[in-house]
Subunit: 308 residues, 2 copies
């Protein structure tokens, strides 16, 4: 096989755009598709090559990476009108980098392979800042021959690739479990901060104690610091968390699995979305809980809240 030089990216949102820039930096020819014309202009300005449809992009490169928002968009760009799979040359490698439900990941993988193509299940995480630096984390499963092709691409976009075997879907499953844990931990970090504030505990002191105690979590340590500092700039936005926990909920329901903790968190994040916090960081559920509880939080002003 000749050295890989061309790659197409479908979806130039936060994560796809970071991947595109990282690949351009590493010398790849990058073809890109997005419904937003300004995204295509930006790609052109960075010496990438805008395409008008998934079909066009798929014809131009032996590897197609998909960075869209959900299952429905993935279906559309792969198999819809002007979809990528029907247009691609046999043997083209499709890498699904979107966070979609494990059952959809499995189903898309099967349909891609049935069409004579190759597939890797490779949901990414890490947020837009790390995406721009080419430092996302990739959880990936798929056949070895597909990974032989994809290696240089993963090197360009990620600082960590976790290989999870040959079975398509395995990566999306473990990504989903990680999401379940992360999102519940964000919710309870916000709850702990709100209750502590309400009962008169100094949040900075409490934070220092907890991160050295059995109550610590990766998310408490990260998002807890943001709450102490009153910083709600989105690392993972509430809109996205609602989508991700929606996947957990649907998947659990389809197999009959009980998920009381994820359900409680989904209820809380959904309510926060309805209340208008959708674009803020997940930690902003603390604002909702603060409002409900009459608790004051650093950097949050609300007339209904006592400031004692």
């Amino acid at each position: 096989m000749s050295q890989l030089s061309d790659v197409s990216i479908i979806g130039l949102g936060a994560m796809g755009w970071g991947a595109a820039l990282s690949l351009l930096r590493d010398g790849f020819n990058v073809y890109g598709v997005d419904v937003r014309s300004e995204a295509l202009e930006q790609l052109r300005a960075e010496h990438g090559k805008p395409c008008q449809s998934p079909a066009e992009a798929a014809k131009l490169a032996p590897v197609v990476m998909i960075f869209v928002v959900n299952d429905a968009q993935t279906e559309e760009v792969l198999f819809g009108q002007d979809g990528a799979v029907a247009a691609a040359e046999a043997g083209t490698l499709f890498i699904n980098c979107s966070t979609i439900s494990p059952s959809s990941a499995i189903s898309f993988g099967k349909r891609i392979e049935s069409a004579g193509m190759r597939a890797i299940d490779a949901p990414v995480s890490g947020g837009s800042a790390r995406a721009l630096r080419g430092e996302v984390t990739v959880m990936a499963s798929g056949k070895s021959e597909a990974f032989d092709i994809a290696g240089p691409l993963f090197d360009a976009i990620s600082s960590k690739v976790i290989r999870l075997g040959g079975e398509i879907g395995q990566a999306s499953r473990i990504k989903m479990i990680n999401q379940l844990l992360s999102d519940v931990h964000i919710a309870v970090a916000a709850e702990a901060m709100t209750l502590a504030s309400k009962i008169g505990v100094d949040l900075a002191t409490m934070y220092e104690v907890i991160i050295n105690s059995t109550g610590n979590s990766w998310m408490f340590e990260d998002r807890g610091a943001h709450i102490v500092n009153g910083d709600y700039a989105a690392r993972s936005a509430i809109d996205i968390i609602v989508k991700d926990l929606g996947i957990v909920s649907a998947e659990a329901e389809s197999v009959g699995s009980a998920i009381p903790m994820a359900s409680a968190a989904l209820g809380l994040f959904s309510e926060a979305e309805v209340e208008g916090y959708g674009k803020e960081d997940g930690a902003a559920v603390a604002k909702l809980l603060g409002k409900k509880s009459g608790a004051s939080l650093p950097g949050v002003t609300d007339p209904s809240v006592d400031t004692a």
Copy 2:
């Protein structure tokens, strides 16, 4: 002040017994009280001095450490019939090592000081094995002069003392917040393991991925390993977690604070207690979730569960 040599311990359960042995090892005269006569016999066998009532124990030493189960028992041993406070010499130091509600800790502290005594709020954690080794963690608040007296005792029983200022109640508050986080993290760790098993993820692989990802928590890392190994020996028993989250729930209700995540966890642990798992480790909520979900877990056999 002459060097402290005598200390009384009220309550020789798992944590109190560990403290008694640790203090005896460090050369203290240890007076002990317990409702169970076998605990008093064991104390005598270790060269400690059994007493018949809190009042008798309080008369014999300038420091009284309390290791009982809840607020009601604390009330009883301090202020009930043959209670410790009325019998003690003026200036006796009472160290509350039980996990009780912050409001009770504050109220007991005030009544102890009003009676001319000294008080430290010092809930301990770490489980019975660490208690036996003299390696519990103590979160403690109270006046400096009280800490000057208590120093050698804390050295004997603990590997870590977190000083949280002069105000009685502050230690119990932060301990409670740590408990809220820890117990929710145990519940969601069990939920994640159960769902993963149900959808066909290898638990050992998933565990390794998660402990290096954003979904990690202190409890996932610890209790998750126990679930992967099918080991449900009690580190913190479900009975105790139900009690601790009951404190969180009552305290949050009394100040009007919303705690949806702790409430979901309390519901789950309470159900597990009703189902007969009360003496097992908190991680055994995985067994309950496994049963509800028809998911198989390592080391857990249940005829209602599919073993696919």
